[in-house]
Amino acid sequence: MNNAMIKRTTKRTEYWIFLVLIIMCVAIQIASGGQLLESSTVVTILRSMVVDGMFAMVCLIVMVSGGFDLSFPAVAALAYSLSTTICVNMGWSETNAWAGFIMAIVIGAVLGMLNGWIISNFKLNTMIVTLATQTLFIGISMGLLELKEITSKLPLGFRTFGESYLFEVKSSAGLRSTMTTMFIPFVIICIITSLVLNRTMFGRALYAIGGNETSAERAGYNVKRVKFWLYVAVGATCGFIGMVRVCMARQSIPKALVGQEMTIIPAVILGGASIFGGEGTVFGTICAVGIITVVSNSMLLIGIDSYWQDFFNGIVILVGVTVSAIQAKRRNK
């Protein structure tokens, strides 16, 4: 019984990814002369996981359902830039961040509806649909609406919210680092994703659809409805995440997230999600995002020349996917 359980656990991708994360942390800790686990570094790494981590959750949930979303950065970008632009244009320079959040969530949901409508009504490759909507959303935001970068005019409420922190730590050198409040939404979104995927019938529907869409339909799920609401929820969440980013970076830049999908999607796949759907866990995804963040945030510490960072990043992803591909092959044997 216990043996069987151990066997099952060691078969899972997230187990390996977690091991890799630990080994990587130890290796970097040694290579950087003990600088990685310095409290301020840890806080910085956790902080920089926030936005990528939340996007990874969104990406994961879509991938579980057998989809492939390229449009989420564009949705987030359009949602937050439109929302902040409205705030600024209405002269709400003092406005509370919540107004912006609500607007962004609504806009995100509306954009998600377009994705959801197309994907649930027409049998189309989701990657292509979201490629199209991504292009469209960028065109709407920068072409049709001509949304501009907002930095100094960003409403005060947004900035204050972004500056707020949970606690502060002092490193051995006496350097103060603060843990951003935005870490809470990150944790909440991870928990919600995990609960939705594992504890609700909606979540099981996503796995079921990802595993075998016709069977899901025959089992009694309304696949179209599930898919539609999935993309609406994803859109709304993207709007929310976008606003978190605006508050953290204290600037709303319509183009800032474009291309982000190319770093998030590899992380999610590294974490055990399958591009064919039906596989993937929150834990594995967090570990994978952890690996990528730790690596990219400690390149300087371990002495990798800045000019070589892209190369090194590429190699890390390559090694990661190779390991999981080989492992998958072994498992299927």
Partner: protein
């Protein structure tokens, strides 16, 4: 200023006379190609270009690539040149990449004026707010003064492939080697923040972690100083670590006021754009330009012409005193 409006008058009148005469020259078709669309910096330029267009009654096509990509920019320039314009103004992502299309444009009789591209061959003129080494040296001088001319520093750029930012950073390092022997460039030498203040913030923290005795960060992109300042402030290192870069005044106002940043550098690209527009019209109307000419904007009333390069005195240090003077 008054000189400003004076040029406007002359431009207008010369135009009026031009259209009356038998040469039949209409208002020139002018196009301005920025490095990229939709960034605050270039939005500011766009506003200035549009304002100029309204004042002078000349429609200016303002059109740039959607990504910081030389190839995409050249494609747009190709379109414009082929659709028939009289004056092409641009700021290249990559000067070398634009040579060919510029040559074509000049062969077609188009007046070509570039900026931030002092090395270009196939242009009628190149307008610079300052000379390239000048900005790097200027930034270094400012930083050195704040650091007390000693200590370790590092350079930061928006991305490793941004030509002009790299040039300025190189010039800054040159300047340090020549003038500030007690300052030292750390082994990492240069980092890139992907033109993202959040990344600049993370990088700064990481740098300070790695180099506890780091004293200065010299950035050349407009996101460098704001991001670095946030990290410095959070780490409680105000007055111990200094950062400087090119930046938009209002973006760094808070940091200047609370002393996290001593100063940032700026040139008003909007003004430079207007100068280019004025110059373009003058050339279109057949006027000759010589050293000491007045191009109608502050800093350009007595320009210095070296070959094809017209250099103004456009760079400005932004400090607490003048941060509110710009309105952007």
């Amino acid at each position: 200023g008054s000189s400003n409006s004076a040029t406007k008058e002359t431009t207008k009148s010369s135009e009026a006379t031009a259209s009356d005469t038998s040469t039949g020259k209409d208002a020139p078709k002018i196009a301005f190609v920025p490095k990229v669309m939709g960034q605050a910096w270039w939005d500011h330029v766009q506003e200035n270009v549009e304002a100029w267009g309204q004042e002078n009654g000349i429609e200016v096509i303002y059109k740039g690539p959607t990504e910081v990509d030389a190839a995409a920019q050249v494609q747009i320039m190709t379109d414009l040149v082929n659709q028939g314009i009289d004056v092409l103004l641009f700021s290249p992502n990559d000067p070398d990449a634009c040579e060919a299309i510029c040559k074509e444009a000049i062969d077609k009789g188009i007046i070509v004026i570039s900026t931030e591209a002092s090395g270009m061959e196939n242009v009628t003129y190149d307008v610079e707010a300052f000379d390239e080494a000048g900005l790097g040296g200027f930034l270094m001088d400012q930083l050195a003064a704040q650091m007390g001319e000693e200590g370790k520093y590092i350079t930061m750029v928006g991305s490793m492939t941004m030509e002009s930012q790299n040039n300025w950073a190189d010039a800054a390092v040159e300047r340090q080697k020549a003038a500030y022997p007690k300052m030292e460039l750390v082994p990492d030498a240069r980092v890139a923040d992907d033109s993202d203040a959040e990344k600049a913030y993370e990088l700064t923290k990481e740098l300070i972690q790695k180099y506890p005795d780091l004293k200065g960060i010299l950035g050349t992109g407009s996101f460098d100083a704001p991001g670095a300042a946030r990290a410095i402030q959070e780490l409680g290192l105000t007055g111990k670590v200094y950062a400087i870069s090119v930046a938009m005044p209002l973006e760094v106002k808070d940091y200047l006021l609370d002393g996290t940043l001593g100063s940032v550098a700026l040139w008003d690209a909007g003004v430079t754009a207007k100068v280019m527009l004025n110059l373009g019209v003058k050339l279109f109307n057949g006027e000759e330009i010589a050293s000491g000419a007045n191009l109608g904007e502050i800093g350009y009333d007595k320009v210095d012409i070296q070959g094809k390069v017209i250099v103004g005195q456009g760079q400005i240090a932004i400090t607490t005193e003048n941060v509110d003077d710009f309105g952007f």
